[in-house]
């Protein structure tokens, strides 16, 4: 019974809820809590998968008797499956963060070399680097020596206040260590076998983190320069709008809409989503796994050996 319940919960959390959450509009009003909810959702579905794998042979044990050879085989098999899930996740996490670190390191070296010092001094900020080029580009390179990279085109298209808004946005990414959140979701995405994986959490969390940084920048410089910077830079990128159903374009529109609203965030919604995240995380552990654990210890097949 436990295995069935956990399985149902796991399937609901990994197949039904992400679609609902990705389509919902309210996360835009409580982005931090919504990121927590996504994290709880992902972690809980992993716990459910592990729970199913470990609970199933225990139930078989009770049905067939502890000394039945099939029971031992099933237990060993399920332990192997559980170990595979955990190891796969860990390997994916190590690989994603190692690759990201190498790529960031390379970017840091190259932007330091290509930096136009004269232009950077106009902008201010020890971690800012300015690249040549007519393509408007603003990004940050997280790490122990972080960098905020702007292209020359950004400085030409935006005025001083708008540049400050972009810098405040990127510095919020760096300060809040958003890259660690993205790395963990990317690692999870890659650990799931291709037919089952979904980009929905990855894209949703990415947009939410942009909103969190938008909010931080907004507190520092006000919504207007940030909104103007976002709109101007989108306009300045050639061809980007011609792609139909461009997800990045849709994300930009949602960010612009939020910045147009007077105060998009709702404290009540944040509390509700935060409590939901905590509840979700605790739910399978407390209600399903703990009582099962008590029974399982009694029915442990090796005990009678």
């Amino acid at each position: 019974m436990t295995a069935l319940l956990l399985g149902a919960l796991g399937l609901t959390l990994s197949l039904v809820v992400p679609g609902l959450l990705a389509g919902a509009r309210w996360p835009g009003r409580a982005p931090v809590a919504a990121v927590l909810l996504w994290q709880a959702l992902t972690l809980t579905s992993v716990l459910c998968a592990l729970g199913v794998v470990l609970a199933a042979p225990e139930e078989l044990t009770r049905a067939a008797g502890a000394n039945h050879p099939w029971t031992v085989a099933a237990l060993l098999f399920s332990l192997a499956v559980a170990a595979t899930i955990v190891i796969r996740l860990l390997i994916s996490l190590i690989r994603v963060s190692a690759r990201a670190r190498a790529r960031r390191e390379r970017h840091r070296i190259l932007v330091d070399l290509l930096d136009r010092v004269e232009r950077r001094r106009e902008v201010g900020g020890a971690e800012v680097r300015v690249l040549d080029g007519a393509l408007p580009l603003a990004y940050c390179v997280p790490g122990r020596e972080p960098r905020v990279v702007l292209s020359d085109a950004v400085l030409r298209v935006l005025d001083r206040a708008q540049v400050d808004a972009v810098l405040a946005h990127e510095r919020a990414h760096l300060r809040h260590r958003h890259e660690l959140v993205m790395e963990s979701f990317t690692a999870f995405y890659q650990a799931v076998p291709p037919p089952l994986r979904s980009r929905a959490p990855l894209d949703a969390v990415h947009l939410l983190l942009e909103m969190v940084s938008d909010d931080a920048a907004r507190r520092r410089v006000g919504p207007e320069p940030l909104r103007a910077a976002l709109a101007r830079l989108s306009d300045a990128v050639p061809l980007a709008e011609e792609t139909p159903h461009d997800p990045a374009g849709d994300a930009r529109r949602r960010r612009l809409d939020r910045l147009a609203a007077p105060a998009p965030n709702s404290a009540g919604l944040s509390v509700v989503a935060g409590v939901a995240a905590a509840g979700l995380f605790v739910l399978p552990t407390v209600i399903l796994v703990v009582p099962w654990l008590g029974q399982a210890l009694d029915a442990w097949p090796f005990r009678s050996l």
Binding site: V96, R99, L113, A138, V141, V166, M182, Q190
Partner: protein, 116 residues
């Protein structure tokens, strides 16, 4: 002076030069208005060569150094890498605008006038 700043200045000299430069030439260009050890320049060029950012050529009895790519090539390559989206690379950098469709990046880079 930080090593990073010196590396950038050495690269700038190599990019601005028409031909590959010897260590002595780079040293002369950089030490015009400051005190800089010849061996420091040699170390910096060696480090840049190890990172495959400059190529070392043996001519006569001296090594000559040239940038592996022009400044424009390197900038374009870096931007392309920064903007191109593939699932496993998303986590490395954070962008202000979000990522662009690959076609748009190529078109934009080709449209970039080779200036400066």
């Amino acid at each position: 002076m930080a090593l990073g700043d010196l590396e950038r200045e050495v690269m700038t000299q190599l990019w601005d030069a028409r031909d590959p430069l010897t260590v002595r030439q780079v040293h002369e260009l950089l030490s015009a208005n400051r005190d800089l050890a010849y061996t420091t320049v040699m170390t910096v060029l060696d480090r840049l060569a190890k990172k495959k950012l400059v190529v070392q050529q043996r001519a006569d009895r001296a090594y000559r150094y040239a940038p592996a790519q022009t400044r424009e090539e390197m900038t374009a390559g870096l931007m392309l890498d920064a903007l191109s989206a593939t699932p496993d690379r998303d986590a490395a950098l954070a962008y202000f605008l979000g990522q662009l469709p690959p076609g748009a990046i190529q078109a934009a880079l080709q449209a970039t006038p080779k200036e400066t």
